[in-house]
Amino acid sequence: MNAAADSVRRTPVVGRLSSGRLIDLAYRARAFGILAALAVLIVVTSAIQPRFLSGNEVNIVLGNTTILALLSLGEAMVVITRNVDLSVGSVLGLAAYASGNIFGHLHGMSTGTSIVIAFLVGIGVGSACGVLNGALVTIGQVPSLVVTLATLYIIRGIDIWIIGGGQVVASSLPDAFFELSLKSFYNVPYLALAVGAVVCVGAYHMRSFRSGRDLYAIGSNPQAARLVGIPTGRRVFTAFVVSGALAGVAGVLWASKYGTLDSTAGTGYELSVIAAVVIGGVAIFGGSGSVIGAALGALLLNTILAALYVVGVSPFWTQAISGALILVAISIDRVITLQLTSALRRRRVRAAAA
């Protein structure tokens, strides 16, 4: 007993934080970590190539991030519930084609109205795909990994079947539709601002509403969530519909950004989305993380791609480096968790000995 007490006295107390504060800090550190990584990246890259900080470059990075961040928002909500949505790339492709194609059928309508209709079509297509995913996962009780892997191929297949070898060409779209993606406010694209606002709304919802907190509870302990009476099926279903709808919106933005659309739009994009979510600190097995983190993950991923491009690294390396980044993000999480667990255990032993 005495020896134990002595060793306690000799052990340096890890700050004077309560266990709760310690964990809170670690979780917050995740977001700070991403921001710090961004800062380091920007400083180092601009030291090598000052062009990196030019307004034009900032504009491009933010413009590229809008679509990825929007998808990451929906994906984060799904992943937090201990599910995954692999179909977002295909949904984006289908929604992009459907919204781009609709302009050809809206002769004589004002440009404003036709753009609104294009957005509604995109959201409608995306939501429908989300309903399909959500229903199969919650009613069919099929693991989401399998369901959305299947819908990834099915939706892409529908896309190819509708479009065939053809494509929507840029000339059939109104100029105002392109300008959506082009206009910016002091080199910050308006769309980036809009997506930022949407992410903030999402974060607020996840934090301050029962339906948002329920998503965390479901991912943290699905069995306990059912036992305390959380409508787990309805919540997970909704998360998939939201993810689908956001992928639909992202499809419309894709159409506005690239103009020329064929059946390959967004192919493989789901992997970038999941990468952004994981890098952003959302636990892949659910329960923790934030949608802001996921959006920052998207920003970090795009910043890295831009930085590598600017300093002239070959595109081959960009892929390998994104992969390494995922490993680093996951390792950091793992190390923090292990450190915390053992710190808490030591604390407990000390408390018991006292």
């Binding site: 964990i23 907190r213 509870a217 943290s220 302990n221 069995q223 305390v228 667990t341």
Partner: protein
Amino acid sequence: MTPGGRVPQARLVLSLQHASKTFGAVRALQDVSLDLFAGEAHALVGENGAGKSTLVKILAGVYRPDEGVLVVDGRGVFLDNPADARDAGIAIIYQEPLLFPDLTVEENIYIGRQPLTTGRRIDRRAMRRHVEEVFGRLGVRLDPGRIARGLSIAEQQIVEIGKALSLDARVIVMDEPTAALSAVEVARLFGVVQSLRAGGTAVLFISHRLEEVFELCQRVTVLRDGRWVTSGPLADMTSDGLVRAMVGRDLLEREPEEQSIGDTVLRVERLTREGVFTDISFDVKAGEIVALAGLVGAGRSEVATAIFGIDRYDAGAVTVNGRRLRRASPTAAMSAGIGLVPEDRRQQGLVMDMSIARNIALASMRSLRRLGMISGGAERRFAKDWALRLQLKYGRLSDPADSLSGGNQQKVVLAKWLARRPSLLIVDEPTRGIDVGTKAEVHRLLDVLAAEGVAVLMISSELPEVLHVADRILVMREGRIVTELAHTDASEEAIVAAATGQLREEAA
């Protein structure tokens, strides 16, 4: 006269009357009644398998009784699911609570029913206030804003109790809450129970530790073999009387069979795993059956898995046939001649989807190998031979192990290890969930093995089995061996007394 010793003006809060529950052929509960009064701590005691868990699950709304009525606050209620039990004001604190590790303490208490402000936003300030008020009432200090991951079991139980209070539960059932707690934590929990009682809550307290029962509770109900034995104020009872009520059946006599005991096969010296078991020393000789008795959670299975190398140990040594065994290596244990028949045969003993033949041959692949390949024919012949020896009842050897009855599954696990001709066989709860007939066969098999010179270490919670089969009995309590009994001196009373801590410490 008032029904509860120290609760004179008590109001009947919950009354379970003549409840019965059967599962297939097993009568888990038969005509059991239980009354709980406001402000009392009521103990529910009985041996393993006496029906305590079934009773708890009925109160929790998990099982519906086949017969019987449940009256809460004077109204008959039917509990179809856990939510019904919650609405009826019954809360269950399990030994290991189900919390959300990623959510804060206060959210764990209020998830799904957080206080809201206008606009249906969560009112965090009100939530914090409520939780602090509840913890204040309980007299505990726990940061409501910390995340639940990393809370000790004791703290997790406090969170669950806080949730029960915030739901205005009038009955709180604690299912062996102290099994995983340290002495300090138990004292704190008892303080919390006193505050609950003072607030008029009825507490049903389930524990194997009789000293705790006497310290905390006013009344007791004893179950045995699924039946109600007695209820009454604890002030009128002695611990000997309580033990007798719990055990109370005729003892099985074992026909004395002289066996030649050989050399020491297994020697365990001062084996310790921090927080699980301490200073475990014993040996098992060839031809001897040694039983590790004690309550569930006393650390018996953990000792077995440590010997076999599945779990690490912090100090001590295991020697088999004079050779020191490498720690944490099941492969080393197997080549030293140890076989382990685990407690959970479905999860750990068998590969359920694999054929019976494959399962039997699984641990003998090396000897069946020809030029690095296993021939199906050799495997089948091998399996058939062992199936015959153990009188296995099966359809075809190619059927999955899942298709067998519990007893025959256990025989497959035994066959798997016997085929390796072990010098030491560790069997953990060898007859759990097995019908009486097969049980006797398994016992006969263990006897035959011992007669052939195999050393057997058996873990069993069934006292008749321990008394019937073992030559020597080591009783464990809270991670330590508290007593050793020769077959001739052993009685159920002696084992229960030692396992529950009623034994006066013998000269150490």
